[in-house]
């Protein structure tokens, strides 16, 4: 027996995808020309699937901050936060994130994945029960398993189902933690957070909100969906990432809980990994300042999202959610989704291909994400390419 035998089905599906001539999950970006354009397979391509919501990856202020930190502090910290990996920049960023989010404390993590892993596994233990939305991100799933807590899934974005499951699981001797996302990454739908908060209060549970895709995008100040819906005071823990609106890599968690900082000595994914590099910390600090100072970035993003959503609907595509930073197009099956993704790429537009089992309900999706840096010309080209795709999908050969 071979150690990879367990991946038989996965290997078969991967081979089918590779047979199309392009591997959608290992696509090489050969060069970049700003946040929204790249060279892929030798062709200038518009990027419409990067989660670079505010387009800050090429912001000159952020780049300069990173370059200066690189020169001053070196290429890496070579240590964990609990050893030699806490620099003044890490502490400063934590203070700035706490202030931006209006919270008592913030903790920075090396990746967004680890932010969920560490926070969930650090908060919940063997005697606790975690109630988690069924459309969970892998980092939430893994954090739940790592915690050792009892894990109960509730139906996606369904506060009534959450209420029933909390009722059935009183968890004597332990705590109950609800975990939801602000903006769900596959369909682009927003959490019914006001109703979830009401259920949380009814049962005396804790609530953790992952604002990975909504930070910098929702709310008057860009704090996320909790701010947008006016329920920040009822959310006990917020997790976010640096790899979307902040244009870097890393993650954070914030809270008003007086004992929150205990995670620094209890959360293993925080303790036992090297801390984020100085250049990353510096560019994220600069990006955070940009988000605070330039609300027009959010306004531009939303205007672009509404324009693109309307254009796609006019072309007959079925969108999974109302206009927002994530626009997911539903396609009937894997074959048409792969065909559509490949056609778009060959015509110079990159989107994300999302297939089961990585999607909720077995959906086959073309997942687009909008950026404040997309121009009117980008949108014009993108909609032209989608018009050609709509015509191709309507032909029997593509649909068979």
């Amino acid at each position: 027996m071979d150690i990879f035998d367990k991946y038989g089905t996965l290997a078969q599906r991967r081979a089918q995808l590779l047979a199309t001539g392009i591997d959608p999950f290992q696509l090489e970006i050969e060069d970049l020309a700003g946040p929204c354009e790249a060279t892929i397979r030798g062709r200038r391509t518009i990027l419409l699937g990067t989660n670079n919501y505010l387009g800050l990856t090429f912001d000159p202020v952020c780049i300069e901050a990173g370059v200066e930190a690189l020169r001053r502090y070196g290429t890496g910290t070579t240590g964990s936060r609990i050893a030699n990996g806490t620099y003044a920049g890490h502490r400063a960023l934590e203070a700035e994130l706490a202030a931006f989010m209006g919270r008592r404390a913030a903790i920075v993590f090396t990746t967004g994945y680890q932010a969920n892993l560490a926070t969930i596994a650090g908060l919940a233990g063997a005697k606790d029960t975690i109630f988690v939305d069924s459309d969970w991100h892998a980092s939430i799933f893994d954090g739940c398993l790592l915690s050792g807590a009892k894990v109960v899934r509730f139906r996606h974005n369904d506060p009534e189902d959450l209420d029933r499951r909390l009722e059935r699981n009183p968890t004597p001797g332990g705590c109950r933690l609800i975990v939801v996302e602000g903006l769900y990454s596959m369909f682009g739908d927003v959490a019914r957070l006001s109703e979830i908060v009401a259920v949380k209060k009814k049962h005396g549970a804790f609530l953790l909100l992952d604002e990975a895709h909504s930070f910098g995008v929702f709310g008057r100040r860009g704090r996320g969906v909790a701010e947008e819906l006016g329920v920040e005071g009822e959310v006990d823990f917020i997790v976010g990432t640096f790899s979307k609106s902040l244009g870097g890599i890393g993650g954070f968690a914030v809270s008003d809980h007086p004992r929150f900082e205990l995670l620094r000595v209890a959360a293993r994914p925080y303790m036992f990994t090297a801390s984020p590099g100085p250049a990353t910390i510096a560019s994220v600090r600069a990006a955070l300042a940009q988000i605070a100072a330039r609300p027009e970035l959010r306004a531009r993003l939303w205007e672009t999202a509404r324009t693109l959503h309307a254009g796609l609907v006019r072309l007959g595509f079925v969108l999974a959610a109302p206009p927002g930073p994530i626009l997911s197009i539903r396609l009937p099956d894997e074959r048409s989704a792969v065909f559509a993704w490949t056609s778009l790429l060959e015509s110079g537009v990159y989107v994300n291909l999302a297939l089961p089992p990585g999607t909720p309900g077995g959906a086959c999706l073309l997942r687009c994400s909008v950026s404040a840096a997309h121009t009117a010309e980008h949108l014009e080209i993108v909609l032209d390419r989608f018009a050609s795709l709509a015509a191709a999908l309507a032909r029997p050969v593509a649909a068979e």
């Binding site: 089905t9 988690v132 069924s134 739940c144 398993l145 009892k150 894990v151 109960v152 899934r153 139906r155 499951r165 059935r168 699981n169 089961p356 089992p357 309900g361 077995g362």
Partner: protein
Amino acid sequence: MQPAMTTPDPDRLLAELGELVARFAPPGAKLERSTELTSDLSIDSVAAMDLVMEIEDRYGIDVPVNEIADLVTLGDLVDLVARQLGARG
């Protein structure tokens, strides 16, 4: 939600669960205690969690996610649901 049973009869439970499993399985698949969910029915880990959610709604129980990964056969599923129903009383 349908009325839950408190003292499940194993054969009846197998028949009831078989009906739910059939929705996730290829048409005409044989559904016995020894039927393997992944290799015989092509029910992957994600589909298994969706299947369990249907079962939870049917019986008014919550199957911890931690236990779903241990399911190999339809018989394992029957035993797991029976345990949850028994624990609920």
